[in-house]
C-alpha cells in the first residue's frame, strides 16, 4: 500500500526526468557558471580573473552602446514578431480551406524554415546588394539596404521574419486543425460570416497556440544571431548590434567573457520578465 502510494506520487516526475536531466546538465549548470562569470573580469581564456561584483553590470548600464543594443533589439523583436506571426497566420488561413494545389502551397509557405539563418542571410546579402542585388534591379532603386543605418535593421528584421514565417505557418496550421469543425458549423448556422468566424472562433481557438507562438517568437527573436553575423556584423555603426551579437562579440572576439556573461544574464532577465508577463496575461486572456 505504501509502495503504491510512493509510486503514484512519483510517477508524474518520472515523465519529466529525461527532459530535466538534459536541462540540468547542459543548460542550468553552464548558465550558473555564466552567472558566476558575470561577477568577474575575465582573461583572454574566459577564466575568472578579477572579482568585480556588479562591476560588469554597472559598466553596462553606463554604456551607451549597451543601451543602443537593447533599444535596437527591442525594435528588432517588435518587427520580427509582428511580421512573422502575421505572415504565418495569413498563410495558414490561406491554406486552411481545401483547394487544388494546397499541398504545393503549404510546402511553399513552410519552406523558409528549411534554410539556416546564415544561408538565408547569404542569399539576402546578394539580393539586397545595391549594385547586383535583384531587389534594387526589380524596384529600379539604388538603395544601399544594408549599409544604410536607416534600412539595415529593418532588412535584418524582415529576413528573420521571413525565416520564422515558415514555422509559424506550421504552428498555426496545426492549431487550426485542432479546432472542432462542429463549432464552425454552428457558427455558420448562427449567421456568422467568414470574418466573424475568424475573429470570434478561429482566433480564440488558436489562442493557446497563438500564445505559444508569440512567446517562442519573442524568445527566438531576442536570440537572433546568424543573420546579423553574416548580413551586417552589427553595423552600419551599431545600428544592428543586437544584444546577442554583442554578447558573441564580447565573448568570442573581444576577450570580455565577464561582460558577455553579464549581458547574457541581463538578456535572460529581460526575456524572463517578458515571458512571465505574458504567462500572466495568458491566464487572463487566453481561452480554454
Amino acid at each position: 500500500m505504501k509502495l503504491k502510494n510512493v509510486s503514484r506520487y512519483l510517477s508524474p516526475y518520472v515523465y519529466i526526468v529525461p527532459a530535466i536531466a538534459v536541462f540540468v546538465l547542459f543548460l542550468f549548470f553552464p548558465f550558473i557558471k555564466t552567472i558566476y562569470l558575470s561577477l568577474f573580469k575575465t582573461n583572454k581564456m574566459g577564466q575568472a580573473k578579477l572579482f568585480v561584483g556588479g562591476g560588469n553590470y554597472s559598466d553596462l548600464f553606463s554604456s551607451a552602446s549597451f543601451f543602443n543594443s537593447l533599444f535596437v533589439t527591442a525594435i528588432f523583436v517588435l518587427i520580427v514578431v509582428s511580421v512573422s506571426m502575421l505572415l504565418g497566420l495569413i498563410t495558414a488561413i490561406l491554406c486552411n480551406q481545401s483547394f487544388p494545389g494546397i499541398r504545393i502551397f503549404s510546402t511553399a509557405y513552410a519552406l523558409p524554415m528549411a534554410i539556416a539563418s546564415s544561408s538565408a542571410a547569404m542569399i539576402f546579402k546578394i539580393m539586397l546588394h545595391p549594385t547586383i542585388g535583384i531587389i534594387n534591379k526589380l524596384l529600379g532603386l539604388h538603395t544601399n539596404w544594408i549599409s544604410d543605418p536607416r534600412y539595415a535593421l529593418v532588412c535584418v528584421a524582415l529576413l528573420s521574419a521571413w525565416l520564422n514565417s515558415g514555422i509559424n505557418f506550421l504552428y498555426f496550421s496545426a492549431g487550426l486543425s485542432n479546432i472542432d469543425n462542429t463549432l464552425y458549423e454552428r457558427a455558420s448556422v448562427d449567421g456568422a460570416n467568414s470574418a466573424q468566424k475568424f475573429f470570434r472562433l478561429t482566433l480564440p481557438g488558436l489562442s493557446p497556440i497563438m500564445f505559444y507562438t508569440l512567446v517562442v517568437n519573442i524568445i527566438q527573436a531576442f536570440q537572433a544571431f546568424g543573420q546579423v553575423k553574416v548580413l551586417t556584423m552589427g553595423g552600419p555603426g551599431e545600428s544592428t548590434n543586437l544584444i546577442v551579437y554583442s554578447i558573441y562579440r564580447d565573448a568570442f572576439f573581444n576577450y570580455r567573457f565577464g561582460s558577455a556573461a553579464a549581458q547574457s544574464v541581463i538578456l535572460f532577465m529581460v526575456i524572463m520578465i517578458l515571458t512571465l508577463c505574458m504567462f500572466h496575461l495568458e491566464k487572463k486572456g487566453v481561452h480554454y
Binding site: 581564456m45 549594385t131 544594408i146 549599409s147 556584423m233 552589427g234 553595423g235 552600419p236 573581444n254
Partner: protein, 435 residues
C-alpha cells in the same frame, strides 16, 4: 585524431625520401587545424595528401577545417582548456599577438634553429610580420597584401593613362571616370580595418605604441596621436563626400561585387582575390592592378602583409613536434609554395618558389599578379605592421567609426578620437587582466 599510422608506414616505405634531413619519426599522426575553405581548402587537402603519401617518416597529417579564422581561434581557446589539442594551427595575422602571449606555442624559430634550416628562404618582408624581438614565432603560410584593381576599359575610355597611386590621385580622376569612362562609381571601397591599417603603414606611421606593439605589448594606439588616422579618414571622407566612394558596406570583399559587375572603376582588395575577380568578370572588361594607394601623394611607406601563418602548438611530445616541423618544411618548400600560389593566389612565401615552373606558368597566365610581388618587394620590413592583442576588436571599432563617419557625416577627427578612446580602454583592460 587517433587514427593509427600503421597502414601508412607500409605504404610509404616504398616511396622516395623527399624530406632532406628527416629525423626518423615512428608513425606519428599530427592534427592540423586550418580555416581554408573553398579553393584554398582544396589546395590544402591536396598538399596534405601529397605529404602523407610521400613522406617516409611515417607521419600522417590529419587536416581539419575549423571554420572561419574567428571560429578557429575560439575553438583553439576552448580546446586548450579542454585538451583536445591540435599540433599545428593556422591563425590569422591579427591573432599573432594573442598567440605569442598565450604560451601554448613553440616559437617557429626554435624548430628552425634545431634543424638549422635556412631562414633566409622566407621572403623577408613576410617573415618580418611574424618576427618579434628577433624571433620568428610562426611560419608564414598564406600571405597577401592589398592592391588596387581597376577597370582598364573605363580608364581607356576616360583617357586616363596614369593609374592613380594615392587617394587624392583617385580624387583627381574621379570626374573623368564618371563622365567619360562611364563608371557608375569611382571606387568601391569596402569599409575594412585592414585597409585602414595599410593606409597607416603607407604613411610610415605606427598604428600602436611600443614600437607598433612589437617591442612590447602595446599600451595604446598611436594613429590618433601621430595624425595618420585623421589623414586617412580625411582623404577617405573627401572621396565619400564627393560621391566617388559610396558606402558599399563592411569587409574586405564588400567592394568587389561592384567592381566585377562593371559599376566601379576602381576597387581595393587582397591579392588573393585576383583569380576570383577575373573569374567573376570573365572578360567583360580588362582588369588592371596597381599598388595600394597612398594617403597623400608624398607618402613613402609600403604595405604590410595579411593572411595566416602556421603555429606549432606545444603538446610536450617530441615526436609530434618533429613531425610537425617536417610537415611545415614540406608546406613551405618551393614546390609546395608554387603549387599553393598557383591554386590560391597567395604569395609564395619562399623566394625560391619563383623559380618553379608552376609559378612561372601562373604568372604568365595572370600577369596582374606581378604587381603584388613588386609591391611586396618594394616594401620594407619596417612596414611590417602592428601587433595588437585585441586586434579583432580594434578592427571592429575602426570599421564602426568609419561607417559612422560616412553615414552620420561626422568629422574624421571625432571618429579617430572615438576609435582611440575605445581601443585604448580595451587594451588597458586586456593588459590588466592578462598580465
Amino acid at each position: 585524431s587517433t587514427q593509427t599510422g600503421s597502414e601508412n608506414i607500409t605504404e610509404s616505405q616504398t616511396k622516395e625520401d623527399i624530406t632532406t634531413s628527416a629525423a626518423p619519426v615512428a608513425s606519428t599522426t599530427i592534427t592540423f587545424w586550418h580555416s581554408m575553405g573553398g579553393v584554398n581548402g582544396e589546395a590544402i587537402n591536396a598538399l596534405v595528401e601529397k605529404f602523407n603519401k610521400e613522406n617516409t617518416s611515417g607521419i600522417t597529417v590529419e587536416a581539419q577545417y575549423q571554420g572561419s579564422y574567428d571560429d578557429a581561434i575560439n575553438k583553439l581557446k576552448s580546446a586548450q582548456i579542454g585538451n583536445m589539442g591540435a599540433d599545428l594551427v593556422q591563425i590569422y595575422d591579427i591573432g599573432t599577438r594573442f598567440m605569442i602571449d598565450s604560451g601554448w606555442v613553440i616559437p617557429m624559430q626554435k624548430l628552425i634553429d634545431e634543424d638549422k634550416w635556412d631562414i633566409n628562404q622566407v621572403e623577408p618582408n613576410i617573415a618580418a610580420y611574424y618576427t618579434v624581438g628577433g624571433t620568428l614565432y610562426s611560419m608564414p603560410f598564406n600571405s597577401s597584401t592589398p592592391i588596387l584593381y581597376y577597370n582598364k576599359d573605363m580608364f581607356k575610355k576616360a583617357g586616363i593613362t596614369k593609374v592613380p597611386d594615392s587617394l587624392p590621385g583617385i580624387d583627381r580622376i574621379g570626374d573623368d571616370l564618371l563622365k567619360k569612362g562611364g563608371a557608375g562609381e569611382v571606387i568601391s571601397l569596402g569599409i575594412y580595418g585592414w585597409f585602414f591599417e595599410q593606409f597607416t603603414c603607407k604613411q610610415q606611421a605606427h598604428y600602436a605604441d611600443s614600437g607598433n606593439g612589437r617591442e612590447a605589448a602595446a599600451t595604446a594606439v598611436d594613429f590618433d596621436k601621430n595624425g595618420a588616422g585623421v589623414k586617412t579618414l580625411t582623404a577617405w571622407k573627401t572621396l565619400s563626400d564627393k560621391g566617388y566612394a559610396p558606402n558599399v558596406g563592411r569587409g574586405g570583399d564588400a567592394g568587389l561585387a561592384d567592381f566585377s559587375a562593371g559599376k566601379s572603376a576602381i576597387t581595393l582588395g587582397s591579392t588573393a582575390s585576383l583569380k576570383q575577380i577575373l573569374n567573376d568578370v570573365n572578360g567583360k572588361f580588362e582588369v588592371g592592378t596597381a599598388y595600394f594607394p597612398k594617403v597623400s601623394d608624398d607618402d613613402k611607406g609600403g604595405v604590410s602583409i595579411g593572411g595566416g601563418s602556421l603555429w606549432a602548438l606545444n603538446n610536450n611530445d617530441v615526436n609530434k613536434q618533429s613531425a610537425t616541423w617536417e610537415f611545415i618544411k614540406f608546406l613551405v618548400s618551393p614546390e609546395s609554395q608554387a603549387y599553393w600560389n598557383s591554386q590560391t593566389g597567395y604569395f609564395p612565401i619562399t623566394t625560391a618558389a619563383h623559380q618553379e615552373p608552376v609559378f612561372k606558368d601562373n604568372i604568365s597566365k595572370f600577369p596582374q599578379f606581378q604587381t603584388a610581388i613588386d609591391q611586396l618587394h618594394d616594401s620594407t620590413p619596417q612596414s611590417a605592421g602592428a601587433l595588437l592583442s585585441i586586434f579583432p576588436e580594434a578592427r571592429q571599432t575602426v570599421e564602426t567609426e568609419i561607417e559612422n563617419m560616412i553615414n552620420n557625416k561626422g568629422t574624421p577627427e571625432a571618429a579617430v578620437t572615438k576609435m582611440g578612446e575605445s581601443i585604448n580602454k580595451s587594451i588597458t583592460d586586456y593588459n590588466l587582466l592578462n598580465k
